[in-house]
Amino acid sequence: MAKIKGDIVINVERCKGCEVCIAACPTSVIAMSKEVNGKGYHFAMKVNDTCTGCINCALVCPDGVITVYRAKITTE
């Protein structure tokens, strides 16, 4: 069975911690970190593997820090 799996990569130093992506994600992949980046913002980070690669988070990100990958994984 083929399954769509996604992954996101967040440019941590560019993230300003506005949290808009968290509401946009349908599978609750993103949460805010406890640590801060070089500018002192709590940055968004991926916290689980349920990402489907729907690009919603990347679309609403005002600073365009999210890169989205999507692949079809075939399993028997």
Partner: protein
């Protein structure tokens, strides 16, 4: 089985479905966290990239928060005097009719000091795109009251809320210019959720396609948040915008292909 798939398997260049466009200069945007400007910049650049007209496009940046748009957009840009972007764009388009021209303006720029330029450029039916970011406040200078500030809305110059008896009514300039014969496409969009972002991008695409056919002004208003000026967090400001801005500034097309859209279709929401 899929548990064995490591992250490295997915993170390959051929699997990229979305990344920040190269037409945005690789430098951090100077806007506040959560500001809608960044999304509109990115959608605009993606539209130009998809149409492959980035080398034929000239943008005019306004005065306001987005005055530094020329620092972020990797295309030819000019900075206009406060409010005079439509006048400058008129000159560029008339001298260089084969170029694509757009102005990118805020509400203080377009609806306050530049009202005359906006209305006359729209009335003349010049062939360029106006992108109007409406956040109901002068964000850059510290959150003063703008012509588009809602009745009762607090700002630093209306600390008890806008009182229409003394401060006047908010200006719905988008509805106003839709009445003019020179405008061809007038719409109001938002960029706070993925669906709205997709619709805004479609509207931008349509506007530049119209410009290719020399139809007249295409005017896109984007209702945006100003969390610093409204003194809220980005998520709160988006909620506030949905609850307060959208009833007064209903989203949707106002004029399509030179024809006003009937009122009830304009008012339809999600």
């Amino acid at each position: 089985m899929e548990d064995q798939v490591t992250k490295i398997d997915i993170r390959k260049d051929e699997n990229i479905v979305y990344k920040r466009t190269d037409l945005l200069v690789d430098r951090p945007l100077s806007y506040c966290p959560g500001c809608g400007h960044g999304v509109v910049h990115r959608m605009l650049m993606e539209t130009l990239e998809e149409m492959d007209i980035q080398d034929k496009t000239i943008g005019v940046s306004p005065v306001g928060c987005s005055v530094l748009a020329y620092d972020f957009m990797n295309i030819d840009m000019l900075g206009a005097a406060h409010g005079r972007a439509p006048a400058l764009a008129t000159a560029i388009k008339r001298l260089w009719p084969e170029r694509f021209v757009f102005t990118y303006q805020g509400d203080g720029d377009l609806a306050a000091i530049g009202t005359a330029e906006t209305i006359h450029a729209c009335n003349r039916g010049e062939n360029f795109v106006i992108i109007f970011i409406n956040n109901g406040i002068y964000g850059m200078t510290g959150g003063q009251m703008a012509p588009t500030t809602l009745p009762g809305m607090r700002s630093s110059t209306s600390p008890y809320g806008r009182d229409v008896a003394t401060m006047g009514h908010p200006l719905k300039i988008t509805e106003l210019i839709a009445q003019l014969p020179g405008t061809y496409y007038v719409t109001r969009q938002a960029v706070h959720t993925p669906n709205h972002v997709r619709r805004t991008k479609k509207a931008l695409r349509k506007a530049f396609e119209n410009q290719k056919r020399n139809t007249g002004i295409s005017f896109i208003e984007v209702v945006s948040n100003c969390n610093s000026g409204w003194k809220m967090t980005p998520v709160q400001s988006n909620k506030w915008m949905e609850d307060n801005m959208f009833p007064f500034y209903p989203l949707g097309d106002i004029k399509v292909d030179g024809q006003l859209v009937p009122k009830k279709e304009t008012a339809e929401k999600e």
